[in-house]
């Protein structure tokens, strides 16, 4: 990843939703707000895109620059909540703001996501006014990234990290 090169000013959002209609919608909403968008239809594809390969013991930090992840909660296989947890457990990805979307207004679900580190929880159908709430989180991350880009303390080297979908297994590996 080019450390010294200035970043594009456009923010890159990764949208995750198994519904094609909702993916079209979120993509249009985000693009209308001048975001660069990558949309995938599953949490596992999202993890692949982010460089976190499931079941493998190492995490390769790629040249993928994602500034925000917005994901549906209810998805077959890995849910948006599972995705959120995996991202927050990852050293290289945990600072990427994550937003959860759901068609169901379940307070316990909302709280769980916020407690796990989600920045926002949007009820579907997502509105333009919701998307406008994203910019502050992105600005905050960008400021933090710029502060992190110290010449000596370069955190962007390729890291190796032991990952496991099940926390208890990590103990056995080490």
């Amino acid at each position: 990843m080019g450390m010294a090169t200035p970043k594009e000013t456009q923010f890159h959002v990764l949208a995750v939703d198994d519904s094609l209609i909702d993916r079209m919608l979120i993509e249009r909403l985000l693009k209308t707000s001048s975001f660069h968008v990558t949309a995938v239809d599953s949490a596992s594809k999202a993890l692949n895109f982010l460089g976190l390969v499931e079941d493998m013991a190492s995490e390769i930090h790629q040249d993928v620059d994602v500034n925000l992840i917005i994901t549906d909660y209810c998805m077959p296989g890995m849910t948006g909540y599972d995705l959120l947890r995996k991202i927050k457990e990852s050293k290289s990805l945990k600072d990427i703001p994550v937003v959860i979307m759901s068609s169901e207004n379940v307070p316990s679900r909302i709280n769980r996501c916020l407690e796990e580190g989600a920045e926002e929880f949007f009820l579907k159908p997502v509105q333009l006014s919701d998307v406008h709430k994203l910019k502050p989180h992105l600005m905050k991350s960008r400021v933090k990234e710029e502060q992190d880009q110290q010449p000596i303390n370069n955190k962007r080297k390729i890291k190796e990290e032991f990952h496991s979908p099940d926390k208890t297994r990590v103990k056995c590996i080490s």
């Binding site: 519904s19 094609l20 209609i21 909702d22 079209m24 919608l25 068609s103 579907k124 159908p125």
Partner: protein, 154 residues
Amino acid sequence: MDAGQMKRQWVDYIKSLFVEGFLDGQFLQLQQLQDENNPEFVVEVVSLFFEDSERLLKDLSFALEQKGVDFKKVDAHVHQLKGSSSSIGAQRVKNACIAFRNFCEEQNTDACLRCLQQVKQEYCLVKNKLETLIRLEQQIVAAGGSIPTMELSF
């Protein structure tokens, strides 16, 4: 009819769809997301909705015809249909799905079958309405006009 008259017809028609509850504010959101760079956005999403719904309704019929009905599966299909109808603003379809899910929970096959009929009916109605609306839009554009930007004031 000139473009101006067609536009007024379009406005009256879409207003009636809101008043009768076929569409809700979400449909206006879709219109707002359409612009010169994405002039076909609404048609694309609506077409997707038709395809998606028809597939789901088939799957629902099939699932409910089984000897041992898998209510989890039925509920999953209804959840999907509820989601997509909500996303495009097809209010009556969405509401019919909400009622449907309650009966899935109760695992009541007969009630589910009745709900399915209800959902099918609402779907057919809104499909006709949307097709009419889109036809009107195409006529306006063909006559050199542009689709009015709606603001919900009713």
